[in-house]
């Protein structure tokens, strides 16, 4: 197990280095931040001054060398737009994205596993059909539309919840609910399919023959064997959430990493973009490690 984790860590480290080089040079190809930061009719002197102030007038490889050197000291430089350390800006955004992602993902996983397993157990029944319909709608409903409709219904018409913002626990209800729908729709389908094949295995028949009740059969004997593909999909969905839920964050005014990244890319705030990508990459690397460990725990063949 430790060997497996070590191998994955080395591979991930190489990926991070490659990503660092790629993102730095690609971001420099997308346009001049002086043009975007300054007004359209800024003088050439103003633009030259801006580039000199932020080290953007140096040759590209010199900029890269300085960037790597700073990075080794965990210094991502200053945000061009906000005149603050880029890493501070990114970590503030992560402080919002992480709880949003973790709470939503936890609810999704619990709900999808319970409902998907029960649906698979009574295949073709009313419950199964309801779960299938709901999950299909959930997997295909556009976030943008769901979010706006939710605001109109629950905030404007019913007045139950705030439209947007982050001030109180109630502010989290709509973003979490909207963010919940799509991954729930996907994961519940995978759980159902995986459970279907697992429930037809010989050991399930044996358990039934021995008089084991339905719930232990589903949640004790079968679920563990059905979880490998489910964990893969959960990993994908978790990675998407760690990247930030751009649409949900934008509509609900949630100051998370997705909105920050989009804004920073459009504003050519290179240091924030680089810091956000590197921090996200590390987060996804950690999450992948956890998934690998989960694989190993669930399946001894992988562990050994």
């Amino acid at each position: 197990m430790i060997k497996l984790i070590g191998q994955r860590a080395i591979a991930s480290l190489l990926s991070l280095l490659g990503l660092m080089v790629l993102v730095f040079f690609l971001s420099r190809l997308t346009g001049d931040p002086a043009v975007l930061f300054l007004p359209i009719d800024a003088t050439e002197a103003m633009k030259a001054n801006f580039r000199a102030l932020h080290g953007l007038d140096a040759p590209l490889f010199e900029q890269f060398g300085r960037y790597v050197w700073d990075l080794l000291q965990f210094d991502f430089g200053q945000s061009l737009r906000k005149a603050r350390p880029a890493i501070d800006v990114v970590m503030e955004a992560y402080a919002w994205t992480l709880p949003l992602a973790l709470i939503t993902l936890s609810l999704v996983v619990v709900a999808a596993i319970v409902l998907g397993s029960l649906a698979a157990f009574k295949i073709g029944g009313f419950f199964d059909r309801m779960v299938s319909i709901i999950s299909l709608i959930g997997a295909s409903a556009p976030d943008f539309w769901v979010a706006i409709v939710a605001i109109v219904v629950f905030s404007i018409n019913l007045g139950w919840l705030p439209t947007s913002g982050v001030g109180t626990p109630l502010h989290w209800v709509l973003p979490i609910a909207v963010l919940f729908i799509r991954p729930f729709g996907l994961i519940v389908q995978v759980v159902r399919g995986s459970m279907l094949s697992a429930l037809s295995a010989a050991y399930v028949k044996t358990a039934r023959a021995k008089g084991v009740k339905n719930l232990p059969i589903i949640f004790v004997h079968t679920l563990r064997n059905a979880m490998l593909p489910v964990i893969t999909v959960i990993g994908d969905q978790a990675a998407a959430m760690l990247n930030g839920a751009v649409i949900v964050e934008t509509i609900f005014g949630f100051p998370g990493i997705g909105k920050l990244m989009i804004d920073s890319i459009l504003q050519r705030d290179f240091n924030v973009v680089l810091a956000a990508i590197m921090v996200t990459a590390v987060a996804i690397f950690i999450m992948n490690m956890l998934i690998d460990i989960a694989y190993g725990l669930l399946d001894p063949r992988i562990r050994h």
């Binding site: 359209i40 800024a42 705030p162 439209t163 913002g165 934008t250 509509i251 504003q267």
Partner: protein
Amino acid sequence: MTIKHILIGALLASTSMGPALAQDNTDITVVLSEELDLVEPCMATRSNIGRVIMQNISETLTELDVRGNKGLMPRLADSWEDKGDGTWQFKLHPGVTFSDGSALDANDVKHSFDRVFSDQLTCESARYFADTELTFTVVDDTTIDVKAEPAQPILPLLMSLVTIVPSETPMEFVRDPIGTGPYVMSEWTAGQQIVLERRDDYWGDQPAVAKATYLFRSEPAVRAGMVAAGEADIAPQITEDVADNRDTDFSYPNSETVYIRIDQTVEPMGDLRVRQALNAAIEREAFIGTVLADGTELATAIVPPTTLGWNADLVPPAYDPDHARELLAAAEADGVNIKAPVEVIARTENFPHVTEVGEALVQMLNEVGFNASLRMVEVAEHEQYYSKPYPDGRPAQVVVAQHDNSRGDPVFSAYFKYHSNGTQSGVNDPKVDTLIEQATATTGDERAALWSELFAYVQNDIVADALLFHMVGHSRVGARLDFTPTIATNQQLQLSEINFK
């Protein structure tokens, strides 16, 4: 404690921290489309910053009246006088204090401009002075002479763009702005909100609003919904499709002008007949009330009608596709390659329904015989086509752009858009250059007449571009407020102009 008690407690706690619904006091909430990345006073001419800071926290020496016809009004300067030789003398209002308690004097004015032109900062307001060199001489505590080289006849107007900060303000962007305005920033939670609170020791009249909380939501439907739900009182810049409540929604000219910038240096746009044909091919009225909001006006100048020198005699080019075809045929007969590809370049999200506007323009141009295609690009790429130096070896390109001038004088537009050295100019005409230079150097009626002459010349004689629309903006204002948005609401939102019913 049972689980039931815990759940009830949690529910009550969350309910007590519920949304801030309609306030019945003198506090207001403003929901803006764009967050402030900085609260630096020298960046206040940038609209997202100016809406919070300008004249609320930081004030200027002069102020342009956008609600009436008073023109340039005193603010921190009581009066100003042209002393000749390019020198203007400004007399400051006595007894003005900053929010840190220090008194305003002429040295603060000098320091504010030193910051604007410092190479340690990149202050936005510097651009309005372009190549004008300013020298400041402090005469006494409340008197300062400003010498401009070359002479700048509209220097008092330019003073309405520079906010005044105390002499102690460092040569770096500040995060706790100190100003002479009626409000002071009491809270800034990045990504969430900014709070301004009224100063008891403000030198002028006390405004009605005691506290203003600014929130930021980029989605117009959410901003409008927040006012409808009582979570906010003002939502500027909502779109027409969500401005559906006559009681709370205002429509007003927003100082933006949409036009097609024509680069005359590339075939076939160098030919006057081709440019006339392009103008005659566009059915401008068809856009209004369909893809553009009702109330949008046809443009006859790059600046809105409230600007000095507005030429009321000009009329929009008539839609006449047959005449456009004749003009193109005549040009083709003289060897002009009218079938050369023409790219219509527009910027995504430049204004509502910009893509539909671009598609309709291309269709109209092709119907009369142009070989046009649409290219939608994002802001950085758009800038490459819009501003010099233009790309080498480019095909004929016309750029759909939106220009904002709520400053009251065409000088902020004419040079950049029409002078042969202008950054976004597609024109190279000596008479245009002369008119702009003469108008810039004069004042009063003569200045207005020269601007009028310029507008007529660029539209009728050389057909420099295709002027399209003066746009309208929409804002939602809560029922408890007595406030009417103006042409300046895009740039600034003075809390002192807001009252309660």
